[in-house]
Symmetry: C3
């Protein structure tokens, strides 16, 4: 989509220095930019290369903004954020026309909202409801009574178990499985066999959540598994039954949650973190990659980083690593 730099500046909340009528039609990195592209500079040392690259305009921060430049500038408080927002209006992927593809299976009891896109080979279960302007990608299997909100983007080959509920503007990448049975058994001490504990709860995903490719999120056993508003989950993450994830939580790839874990708002987790059942991660805690949190453990401290297995404050853990290295050198 083509826009003048002035229009973009108005959209992202910035001001133009130079020619406000210059047109931009895409975003790019400095290394890959072509004419018509908008680029951004966070680090002042990249300003020179940005001005020299073929891009048509550059987003810069207030402090870095020169009085005049060889290119039109969009000056914003937070240039990377402005760039992300500009991309949303410039790179709006050409969506296909709305409607239900003839190869999709949509029972009479299912509801498809206005301007929704139901792609090839989608299967909707009885009573499923897809909100307005949402897209359900090719090959998705949407179980009975699943409710998907408005403006959602469900990529191809996602599987959603019956009764799962998604809010608005939720993005789910290919291969993700939502609402599968949790991992719970009761052992019969006489026969030695494991019998399945009922996994009949639900999964609720709030607005503005994004879920990565091949991630799996289990339904509650008897209760509800919940993913809070604005939380972002990377590829191949596992979320067990009854887990409660807060709002604006960031979870990098391949991290795994056992059952009944509570994660408060604004937590940030690296990749491959593992958490035992009933662990509790307090607001704003940060967990380094590959950390391990023991069952029932409570971690607290806004902005405090934890690392290692069992996870401890990162300064403490680094001291241990250093002490061990010294000890090994001694011999």
């Amino acid at each position: 989509m083509k826009h003048t730099l002035k229009e973009v500046a108005d959209h992202v909340g910035g001001r133009v220095v130079g020619d406000a009528s210059v047109e931009v039609s895409g975003v790019a990195s400095i290394a890959s930019a072509a004419a018509g592209d908008l680029v951004f500079v966070e680090d002042e040392k990249n300003l020179g290369p940005a001005l020299e690259c073929p891009a048509s305009a550059v987003i810069v921060g207030e402090s870095a903004a020169p009085g005049s430049a060889s290119k039109a500038l969009l000056v914003a408080v937070h240039p990377k954020l402005a760039f992300a927002r500009a991309a949303r209006i410039l790179c709006d992927a050409q969506k296909r026309p709305p409607g239900v593809h003839p190869t999709a299976v949509v029972p009479l009891s299912a509801k498809v909202g206005r301007d929704a896109i139901i792609e090839e080979r989608v299967v909707l279960g009885a009573g499923a409801a897809i909100g307005a302007r949402s897209r359900v990608g090719a090959g998705c299997a949407v179980g009975a009574n699943v409710a998907i909100g408005e403006d959602c983007e469900i990529y191809p080959n996602v599987s959603i178990y019956p009764g799962t509920r998604l809010g608005n503007r939720v993005m789910v990448h290919s291969g993700a499985v939502l609402g599968s049975d949790g991992f719970g058994y009761v052992r019969d001490k006489i026969t030695g066999r494991y019998e399945k504990f009922p996994q009949i709860g639900r999964l609720e995903i709030e607005d503005d959540v994004e879920i990565g490719a091949n991630a799996t999120i289990d339904r509650g056993a008897l209760e509800v598994t919940r993913v809070g508003r604005g939380t972002k989950i990377d590829n191949l993450v596992h979320v067990g039954h009854n887990v409660q994830l807060g709002e604006n939580v960031i979870i990098a790839a391949q991290t795994g949650f056992s059952g009944s874990i509570v994660v408060e708002d604004n937590v940030v987790m690296g990749g491959q973190v593992g958490l035992g059942e009933h662990a509790h991660v307090g607001e704003g805690v940060m967990l380094g990659g590959q950390s391990g949190v023991l069952p029932n453990k409570v971690l607290r401290g806004k902005g405090i980083a934890f690392w290692g297995t069992p996870a401890k404050p990162v300064r403490e853990y680094l001291k241990e690593l250093a002490a061990l290295a010294r000890l090994a050198r001694k011999r």
Copy 2:
């Protein structure tokens, strides 16, 4: 399904104290129970809340059973197990009527057993055989000559490679991949290229196994990969070629097995455990989350817990963790 408490008690092997004719039609947690629900109490301190909640009846253990109560009681030796068994008759999900959906692709050479359910868009390969009362969910791709036993539940979008064999009552969750090629190559020292070692063995899964969402289990290279009866595998677990898993093994999410590993019966593994090729885990061993077992390593000891990388007896490992913490504090 509605049943009298007497019928439920007869099914799970317990006895009723109070009104045996009270009807129950579902199970729930104490926190979420409504009239008509059956709840259970393992910890005596929950007996009060259970009797006060809206549930219609309560399962309690022998020792905790009061002589009389405000609610009908089902007294059982192992209340949680009785609850799990009660759930099976009370929560029998309304299955759809048996039959082959017209959008499924079923070649003439495939066999579909009596009362089996072949859902939308399933593709069966030549010579595939689906046992009586088994369900193959929407979008599953079942390769040539795959044999699935009776009463199996294959959730949507599962992929099963040719020749794989599943026993009876096997559950496979969405996105799982069964019988894929193992990871084996031979390097040509002259060109530096890796050439594929043949991955032409088979995968056999015995009765009563459950396999989690997006788990992957590779076929044998030249031999057979085997998952023993009653073993339960959580989401995103990886099982390499030629692995032999015993009976009643519990494997939590994101654990990974390299090739040719042997795991004996009754082993319990936490999440994110990694095992090197040709490792051997003896009967009844327990492995803590994120443990690492080196290639060719043998772990033995019924009921012994191992932890850490490389995995060692947990007491030993905890001593090391404590010694390191002391050492770091000294400076």
Copy 3:
């Protein structure tokens, strides 16, 4: 496929000792061999069992080759490599006849090469191109403008995002997701919300790459994610945006790459390794299972093995493990 041992020897570059006209029609392990099979011996102590098993012929190395034997021998410099190559002509799976299955959705703008196989329920996007003799398995969702080279094998239920490019002879196993959005957000400090950074780059996979079941490889954010020629990626591996993987790299299962990592040629990684963003792994480095490489870290040393978190030279790490064990024993 039946071949004389002479034909096989000519194909793999070896010579026959004994009856060169003996026919072989498959490969097997010594333990599972039947008449008609070809087996191989790497370790001299297996020569006896190989000669006694029912196989029709045995591949042996130059040094182990007896002057005469009870069975026809194929003598090769590298017997396991010869075996792998023999398997390719002996075990050529009966491919189905080429063509587009009537249940596949192929738009007019898509191109399907000569003798390609487009299986049941495949969905090709506008402008997608499938090379000659390539197979796209049942249920695959291939996005708009995806280009797949010649002789590729895409197993069922793979999802490929728009614009992704695959070279020739690429194998992709079931459930893999190629070209999904990377995990990148910009936080709005005022609202506390994470806004999506554009993920509009591309994914390019070069010739002879193999990708395991349920692996996920993200597209570049603004640039290109690249998987070099001959690289082999195991099941459930995660590759983040902008990662550059060199040629002939081996990556075992469940390893994860954050964004913008560079891996040079001939690197070998164990399973469950985790690498932080902008890490750089130099040519020929080896990384033990479960290692962790910190963000921005550079590892160098052809043939040097690293292990642990943070990864260090394996000798150093083993010294630390030993020192810690001694320390713990002291008390």
